[in-house]
């Protein structure tokens, strides 16, 4: 059963995690080149859909109110849209970034 009141030690540990993640995030993300800013946004979007973890529990556990299960169900849908959609579209984008195009593609009669 999850804890309803924060144990102060757990709270402290969570704050540590938050602070370190913030620092690490700052360090990594400021190195992402502007070239990849759109994929970065869709990738982090997929990551933040990790709230699906909470939604799954909400949709599957024994709730006091039926409405909680329904809210959880809708949350599972919207979070998994982001998980699947976010990773797929990020990959679709990243696939397009190429340093050089291997040998001039003879496309639609371009060139001579």
């Amino acid at each position: 059963m999850e804890q309803l009141v924060f144990d102060p030690r757990v709270l402290m540990a969570s704050l540590y995690v938050f602070a370190l993640a913030a620092f690490l995030g700052y360090q990594i993300i400021s190195r992402v080149p502007p070239l990849l800013h759109t994929p970065l946004m869709s990738a982090t979007n997929a990551l933040s859909a990790i709230s699906v973890v909470g939604a799954l529990v909400m949709a599957g556990r024994e709730n006091h109110h039926e409405v909680s299960t329904w809210l959880g169900f809708v949350a599972v849908i919207s979070a998994s849209i982001n998980v699947v959609g976010g990773f797929l579209i990020t990959d679709r984008m990243l696939k397009m970034f190429k340093r050089e195009i291997p040998s001039k593609p003879a496309k639609k009669g371009s060139g001579k």
Binding site: P34, A43, L47, S78, I101
Partner: protein, 455 residues
């Protein structure tokens, strides 16, 4: 139980590796594979939690959501990327908000003060990001007009609303059983999201998108505090910071403060100091431009949102291929806020098979422009407006620009003689080096390619 915690730890590490991969285009796909594996691990781990008793809604939810997500990402055209991103901010925020609402409905007053505090953040950020992102989607999609929507006393009204919402939040922390305070806070969050985004003009969308990205992440992180789950805190914080860094970068690229973007209602303001640039715009013929391009040593293309709306990225690629075939050095100069979201232009050009070694950032391309024979501006306006550099009274004074006017010759592809989204006059169009080529960017570029072949 411990095994589940372990999957969360593995997921957190894989997420960080995933983002690390994004620091270079060559490692990016591998990185994202890591992150996706982490996500799968976290989801599978959660399914084994002992609290879960019925799986029916879980499977249906995962299947339905997964199918919608897959369909959206497979069939959505790349030009719709800003809209898709706005929608996904909305979904992410909605998920966090709903989990929070259900958590309160279940435990309400039994929650300790710290948890209620975290829950409050989750609800406020989740709700306002949800509606705010929907409005942003509407603006990008064109369902809501892109110009700022303002009314008298707007900022005062918004501030009051925000104050009441925070008041409810504080009261809730004091007395967690006050359900009225909770639901008032929630409703105000939904309203505030709408009010926050409607006064923001389309040209400022990159900042708004980044901010909403940040809020959606922080809402997820707050969920982590409520549920006492570290992987949520880590992933949410990474997202929150990513969005925050992007919005700071975007603001810097416009030389504006966050406050000015959010509350300035930019673009609705009457131009007081700007109208000075007058003179004759010089129209040039297609053949003229084709000859210039064909005999140039170096050509720089500067794309803007107009390239996206005209879907002209393939036509640009075609033209640049031809020029390269003739031995012309072709480069693309990309302003950080060109388009409607960070990196918008890069994605479109990559889609059209432009190798990223040809894409140059603003600071890299500017020193190069004085050695450039022809700079071709495709549907960009404010990002090449020399007023930002020369006229301290201009509303965009101080904004770093791509200095195309330093090139020997400038060609501006423009749909009509109207002003840009910000409503500012652009003196670039009146300079002697500048030639205007009116018409739809895509067909202009296609005809240019043909004309170049005939030179």
């Amino acid at each position: 139980m411990n095994l589940i915690e372990f999957t969360y730890l593995a997921a957190s590490i894989l997420f960080i590796f995933g983002l690390k991969g994004l620091t270079h285009p060559d490692s990016a796909r591998r990185g994202m594979l890591c992150a996706a594996a982490g996500m799968t691990a976290a989801i599978v781990g959660t399914l084994f939690k002992p609290e879960i008793v019925t799986y029916q809604w879980i499977w249906i939810g995962l299947l339905v959501g997964g199918a919608i997500g897959a369909a959206m990402s497979i069939w959505m055209p790349m030009t719709a990327m800003p809209e898709r991103t706005a929608l996904s901010h909305a979904f992410g925020a909605l998920a966090a908000a709903l989990v929070g609402i259900a958590e309160y409905a279940e435990h309400g007053s039994a929650l300790g003060r710290v948890k209620v505090g975290a829950l409050g953040f989750e609800i406020m950020l989740g709700c306002l990001t949800f509606t705010g992102s929907l409005i942003a989607f509407g603006k990008l999609y064109g369902a809501i007009k892109g110009t700022p929507i303002t009314f008298k006393g707007q900022n005062l009204f918004n501030m009051t609303l925000l104050a009441v919402m925070i008041g409810c939040f504080l009261y809730l922390v004091y007395d967690s059983s006050a359900a009225i305070a909770f639901y008032t806070m929630m409703s105000l969050g939904f309203c505030f999201g709408v009010l926050l985004v409607i006064p923001i003009g389309s040209a400022d969308m990159p900042v708004v998108m980044s901010l909403l990205n940040s809020y959606a992440g922080l809402a997820a992180a707050a969920t982590g505090f409520v549920l006492g789950n570290n992987v949520l805190i880590i992933a949410g914080t990474l997202d929150g910071f990513s969005g925050f860094i992007l919005s700071v970068l975007m603001c810097r690229a416009m030389n504006r403060s966050m406050k000015n973007v959010l509350f300035g209602a930019f673009g609705a303001v009457s131009e007081t100091a700007a109208g000075a640039a007058a003179g004759e715009m010089r129209e040039v013929s297609l053949e003229d431009v084709a000859t210039q391009l064909a005999y140039a040593k170096q050509v720089v293309f500067v794309p803007g949102y107009g390239m996206a709306t005209a879907q002209a990225q393939y036509a640009v690629r075609e033209l640049s291929n031809l020029l390269e075939g003739r031995g012309v050095t072709v480069k693309f100069g990309i302003h950080p806020v060109a388009g409607r979201m960070p990196g918008h232009m890069n994605v479109l050009l990559a889609e059209a098979n432009v190798p990223y070694s040809l894409l140059y950032e603003m600071d890299q391309i500017n020193p190069d422009l004085s050695q450039t024979d022809v700079a071709v501006v495709i549907g960009a306006n404010d990002v090449v407006n020399p007023d930002a550099r020369d006229n301290p009274k201009s509303p965009i004074a101080g904004m770093p620009i791509i200095e195309v006017d330093r090139a020997r010759s400038v060609v501006v592809l423009k749909r009509g003689k109207g002003k840009g989204f910000s409503g500012l006059e652009n003196p670039l169009f009146f300079k002697p080096v500048t030639g205007m080529l009116y018409g739809d960017a895509k067909s202009s570029l296609t005809s240019l390619a043909q004309a170049v072949q005939e030179v």
